[in-house]
Amino acid sequence: MVLPRRAALYMVLVGLVVLFLSPFGWLLITALKDPSELRVLPIHWWPHEPSLGNFQQALSFWPYLAYARNSLMVSTLYAVLATLASAWAGYGFARLEAPGKRIVFGVLLSTMMLPQIITLVPTYLLFGKIGLLNTYMPWVLWGLCGAPYLIFLFRQFFANMPKELEEAAIVDGCGQFRIFWRIFLPQSWPVIATSLILSFSWTWGDFIAPALLLDDDRTTLAVRLAKGYFTQHGEPLSNLVAAGTVMYVVPVLVLFLIMQRGFVSGIATSGLK
């Protein structure tokens, strides 16, 4: 009775995995196809002459690497600043007491639920008024403030560290800043890594903020890629879109696979509050 049930479970799971991965498969197949194979019936389920030429063309059709560099800059800038700032604030919430802390923490938790998109458009209008459009300053500012979700991650981690750590440091005359910088931060590399990867992927994947805030030449790969590849006659070049998309998503997927453990447990904590 046990064995067939196990076998059935495996079959269902394998079926689900195939279903969930099939979009990636189609993306890859399209990226390897010759343009002449795109609109034929019956459809070619596998390219007759798979070639990597599309990738080369996708890179040079428009300055792909320049947009990738923009994405890399914005994402790295935000990831580094947001991680540091979130660790900073998370330490405060985890290890320090002050009147009004409960209220401040309540505000933090409710901003985790606050719809981001609702503040984005008014923020865009305000940034326009103070001349921050088409610069990377908005990401610097957002980074310096930390992200509520990351602050929460750091808080959870710091709160579980033994009290003796800081007591000994206080006796030795260490200030809170040094305790944070020398003792707590170096111990928290799993959270730092999770936070860096999360915030990098958010920004790398973000479409609406760069679409609003940046002009066509300074914008990120996500926004440029969304405009697609077209011939001079306005015909879409699906094979180039596929190749460009593969190159755009692979860094994020690889980062995730490398960091899988910390990443997944980090996501999971958000549900356990």
Binding site: L27, L38, I43, C145
Partner: protein
């Protein structure tokens, strides 16, 4: 760059203060002063975030509220105060009401669907078996796909001429359809939403793994069927996690602009290409802002959405009383299955 300088100043501040406090606060110092220093440190550490919340969240929200009482179009220097006229228009504008109803339907459909599917996957992943980690990773992978990447991939699959979906239809002798156009586009949107269900699976799985094994074991010994222990033990103990997912799911679905990603052709300015069936509330808001330049009216729409989200969240919290079990301390949990077994 001057703004950066201003914002970073709180960061290095505590170092010199800590040095200064070394003499004052040490063994001879009063306990009160230590507490005061800790309180001050708390605000130094959380200050940058609070400042950011005020400047980049609260202030923009307030600014949108002010705009919503004006006829601002973003161009004319002096927008006129027009009172509640924008809000009156919200109630009579057919496009607004239609997009709101559509968003309600989208929410009512996708939230239960994704949570149920995520729970089923999590239960399967919670069985002890070889290769569990691999299955979990692969099912979760689509959830890390950047939205633009997911949207473009779905456009390729559901492309009329070269997509796999029509290829499959052709294989079975059916004619291809225009998946990204009106009667079908909504289903593509729902499939796209379901593709990212791994996110919910992971959270439910973490919740399942937190349920003490002894409780389920006790129920089994007492003769409870797997279904009984699932509905009477697992589900109640998992209810805080599921509740959290309902709340965040509703918030996410109401403000979703996912249709944009399968109708991508340009910037948010080119939103006209979103088919009618997928014209959700947030798409409507973005259109009013950027295609029509009606900043005042669009801000009123944003605030209506904000109010609806707050209201729904409050209602869900109220309804959850008595359904959601928050006390999961082992003692309380251990008592429940005993009474179940007695039946």
């Amino acid at each position: 760059m001057s703004t950066t300088g201003q914002l970073t100043t709180p960061a290095p501040a505590p170092a010199p203060r800590a040095v200064a406090a070394r003499g004052a606060g040490r063994p001879g110092g009063r306990f009160g002063s230590l507490r005061q220093r800790r309180a001050l440190s708390f605000y130094v550490f959380t200050g940058p975030w609070m400042l950011g919340f005020l400047a980049l969240t609260a202030f923009p929200l307030g600014y949108a509220l002010w705009l919503s009482f004006t006829n601002s179009d973003g161009l004319s220097p002096n927008p006129r105060f027009i009172g509640l006229a924008n809000y009156r228009e919200v109630l009579t504008d057919q496009t607004t009401l239609d997009s709101l109803a559509r968003t309600g339907l989208f929410t009512a459909l996708t939230v239960p669907l994704t949570i149920a599917a995520g729970l089923v996957l999590a239960v399967m992943m919670n069985q002890s078996m070889r290769g569990r980690g691999v299955f979990r990773t692969l099912l979760y992978l689509p959830a890390v796909m950047p939205p633009v990447g997911a949207g473009l991939t779905f456009k390729l699959i559901f492309d009329r001429d070269s997509g796999a979906a029509n290829g499959l239809l052709d294989l079975f002798g059916f004619n291809g359809v225009s998946w990204l156009m009106d009667p079908y586009a909504r289903w593509v949107l729902i499939v796209l939403t379901m593709w990212g269900v791994g996110n919910i699976m992971i959270i439910s799985l973490a919740g399942l793994q937190d349920i003490p094994k002894e409780v389920l074991e006790a129920a089994r010994v007492d003769g409870a069927s797997p279904w009984q222990s699932f509905t009477r033990i697992t589900l109640p103990l998992l209810s805080p996690v599921l509740f959290f997912q309902v709340v965040t799911g509703i918030i996410a679905a109401l403000q979703s602009f996912a249709p944009l990603f399968i109708s991508l052709d340009a910037s948010p300015q080119g939103m006209a290409s979103v088919p009618q069936d997928n014209f959700l509330f947030m798409i409507h808001v973005l259109t009013e802002y950027f295609a029509d330049g009606r900043y005042g009216y669009a801000s009123a729409l944003l605030w209506v959405l904000f109010a609806i989200i707050m209201l729904l969240t409050a209602i869900v919290f109220r309804l959850s009383r008595g359904v959601v079990f928050y006390s999961v301390e082992p003692e309380a949990a251990r008592k429940r299955p005993r009474t179940l077994g007695g039946k």
